[in-house]
């Protein structure tokens, strides 16, 4: 256990470093951005890809999963854009939609680029011309420090979009951020997007991740969600089922300011390896943060949800509520860490993770952590793992439901419990429908 270990660079690590050296000059960005990239690349060179030896990556070995580095994704051609466009439902009247293909912002498919209340621009423009504040927000100096996968994203970031919602604006329809992987050839994607919620604004952000092809993709994307005072943001993340060849690291970076209400929900449908990491920080007081999600895994899926909620300031509350259904020989991971700083009195932090294992070889790893340095706090966590309750199953079956239907009914209710936290009714219906269709596919297989 404690024998001396010398780290030897893997093929992927060496390729990533040399790819950065080659791409460095051509990556977008002003001098400040270049400095950020260099700093991140140096951190990566020092730490390498995370392995299980890194505590925050205890259950996901990215180094083992990424043996080689795939070539950097190129901007999509016309045919691909047309194919992606055909896969999307037309935007509703007044809808704002940003579309990324393989990480690149696609003008043609995006809708409502500039309205009086929402401004959207390719992130490359921000990187090159953005003011000091924008670059500062984008670099998230207080979030995810030291994480090698996030550093990799910082080093290579290109593509992506910046969406600014004006102060006081209340959006009637969800703002959509759609990320499509063409996966028509093996590729590595590094994109970062930024959404800034103006003071007092209120809107829903729907973030969808769609895969069209089946080729291997290494995707490392990040979303910076910056909420100014009194804004109310609902963020719904949907990761549609991806091919098994995908390795996906998604970082969500949340700055929560005073009196903000931020509710982020994620539906994860598995496929390949997914590491979803959330770094949230309370920058001021009286804010409420809710993080929740339903994760549906089957086959050999591996999905890791890791979150760090930093109560850096007093009088804030956070709630985390995650449900996992793990079928087949899939592996689910939940790691949640609530940190309460020494002066962050009157903090409330409650975290819950619940899992139903339905697969014979399914595994679930839970690590809910509390790190508390202030005394006047109320914090707690709960975690449960178990099979479907045989009594409930028996009850449903005694009412005439076949076993498969009874299981589907109970599992839908279980996953739906977290979906109930989504306020937008139409999105809730969409999410339930997706869970239902996943469960039906499970029942048929």
């Amino acid at each position: 256990m404690s024998a001396t270990v010398t780290r030897i660079k893997s093929e992927a690590e060496a390729s990533l470093e040399s790819a950065f050296a080659v791409a460095r000059e051509s990556l977008p960005g002003q001098a400040k951005v270049q400095a950020l990239r260099d700093e991140a690349a140096a951190l990566f060179a020092c730490n390498g890809l995370p392995t299980r030896r890194v505590e925050a990556w205890h259950y996901t070995d990215l180094r083992a999963a990424m043996r080689t580095m795939l070539p950097l994704a190129q901007p999509p051609g016309k045919a691909l854009i047309a194919k992606a466009g055909a896969a999307l439902a037309p935007a509703a009247e007044g809808q704002v939609r940003a579309v990324l293909i393989d990480g690149y912002f696609i003008d043609e498919l995006s809708v409502g680029l500039i309205t009086s209340d929402i401004t959207m621009r390719p992130l490359d423009v921000t990187l090159a011309e953005g003011d000091r504040v924008a670059i500062e927000i984008l670099s998230t100096p207080n979030l995810g420090r030291g994480d090698a996968a996030l550093a990799l994203n910082t080093a290579f970031m290109q593509g992506g979009v910046e969406i600014d919602v004006e102060p006081g604006y209340h959006a009637a329809l969800p703002v959509e951020l759609i990320q499509i992987n063409s996966a028509d050839k093996p590729s590595a994607i590094f994109s970062r997007s930024m959404v800034r919620a103006g003071a007092g604004s209120k809107f829903t952000l729907l973030e969808r991740h769609i895969s069209l092809g089946t080729e291997a993709v290494q995707k490392n994307d990040a979303l910076v969600l910056f909420t100014s005072g009194r804004s109310q943001v609902e963020h719904v993340f949907v990761r549609e089922r991806a091919p098994d060849s995908q390795t996906h690291v998604h970082s969500l970076l949340l700055n929560v300011w005073e009196d903000v209400k931020l509710n982020s929900f994620a539906l994860v449908e598995g496929g390949g390896l997914l590491r979803r990491q959330i770094f949230a920080r309370f920058e001021s007081e009286r804010a409420e943060l809710s993080l929740s999600g339903s994760t549906l895994l089957r086959g050999k899926d591996h999905a890791d949800t890791t979150l760090v909620v930093d109560h850096a300031n007093p009088h804030n509350s956070s709630r985390e509520y995650f449900k996992h259904i793990v079928d087949g020989s899939a592996t689910g991971v939940f790691q949640g860490k609530i940190i309460v700083a020494p002066h962050a009195q009157k903090t409330e932090g409650m975290m819950k993770s619940q899992t139903i294992l339905t697969g014979v070889d399914a595994a679930m790893y839970n690590k809910p952590e509390l790190e508390i340095f202030a005394d006047d706090v109320t914090c707690g966590h709960g975690a449960t793992v178990g099979a479907l309750d045989p009594v409930q199953l028996f009850y449903a079956m005694s009412r005439g439901l076949p076993r498969a239907d009874a299981e589907t009914l109970l599992l839908e209710a279980f996953a739906g419990d977290a979906i109930d936290r989504v306020a937008d009714e139409s999105l809730r219906d969409m999410l339930i429908a997706r869970v239902r269709s996943w469960l039906q596919r499970r029942a048929m297989s």
Binding site: L357, D361, E369
Partner: protein, 491 residues
Amino acid sequence: MAAVQETVDTVKSLDVDAYKYGFVTDIESDKAPKGLSEDIVRFISAKKNEPDWMTQWRLEAYRLWLTMREPHWARVEYPKIDYQDLYYYSAPKSTPGPKSLDEVDPELLRTYEKLGIPLREREILLGVEGAGTRVAVDAVFDSVSVATTFKAELAKSGVIFCPISEAVHSHPELVKKYLGSVVPVSDNYFATLNSAVFSDGSFVYIPPGVRCPMELSTYFRINEKNTGQFERTLIIADKGAYVSYLEGCTAPMRDENQLHAAVVELITLDDAEIKYSTVQNWYPGDSEGKGGIYNFVTKRADCRGDRSKVSWTQVETGSAITWKYPSCILRGESSRGEFYSIAISNGRQQVDSGTKMMHLGKNTSSRIISKGISAGRSNNTYRGQVFAHKRADNARNFTNCDSLLIGEKCGAHTIPYLDARNRSAVFEHEATTSKIAEDQLFYCRQRGLDAEEATALIVNGFVRDVLQQLPMEFAVEAQKLIAVSLEGSVG
């Protein structure tokens, strides 16, 4: 209420930083030269007159230790330990091998009397037998066992209770078979170090079907300056056997830090049960964090037999740093592991403790109740793992770890790992962290209690689940300790 009043009285009777076991016994001792080398390992082995296989076992461990790196993953901070600046062997000069208590240095006996540990069998027989709570004691002073009581009476039931250094000679087959079988030599840095230099400790063997007629107890005492204590305890409960074992520890107040790296191995065969209770009260250092014991201990139980059971109960109040995870490997079918813990930290103490429950067999179950109390500028971490192997059908665990914070400069942390690889496993985990509720305090004070009494009442209520698991004599001692440990943090 009586117990609460007692707690309050004890608190009042003490000054700030009072550690009543902080005296030093002025006794001549026989020491090995400072530092660690193969020669020192051989020296220790020769002092114990050990057979060659034991010497080789130690040397192998020492060579392995040289290739290992000190781990630093725990949430504890301490200056680098200079392993060459320690005495690895120190024995009171009048030993080895007192034949009876009369041969033991009277100064030593006085030490144990001061500690409140009766060693004279006659006294115990007269005084306590009537009450029906006899306790056989093994007293370990620095590196050697100085006295073991009730040996003859225990032998009548076939129970072996003796210093491990004696067991190596008298029961080599048992020692060979079981030593290092639960905590292998290569297990971790401190366990490997212990394997190389362990000097003494207790050995217990309960034969099949025997219920040990009395509680067994070991008192560990570090006395000498600059010494490390490396004791080794091995307890084997054969089929259908039962034993309750108690462990207590104290050390003088010194400005330097002293290392205590022990290994405890428990083995239960079919239908056997071991109840292992610890009241750990090593010197915690002063309120500024000067001095104190580094308590880096490896404790593990192997429930090898079907339907066997191990229950760990610990009250951790002492030590500058406590870093240990008493664990259970639940190998036998329907075996059961329990862990009850109260960890109290005050001043600048650091605690990183918890347990591991490894469910390997079918229908195994475990229960973890951990209560952490942080006060002063201390940091108290619960770290635990519950694991269900693929084949551990119907594994069942319940974990509850609560933390209480007293004062705004301390920290309480919870790091549980729940690894389920079997779909029929049912794990439940819950944890809370809070300070003493204002409304509870208000209620108590409204009824006429002052702040100190109210806090003592609430804290005693907070830890009651665990206190109830302790044998009665220890429960009383533990309750006093809790009050003493929290002294200065209340009101």
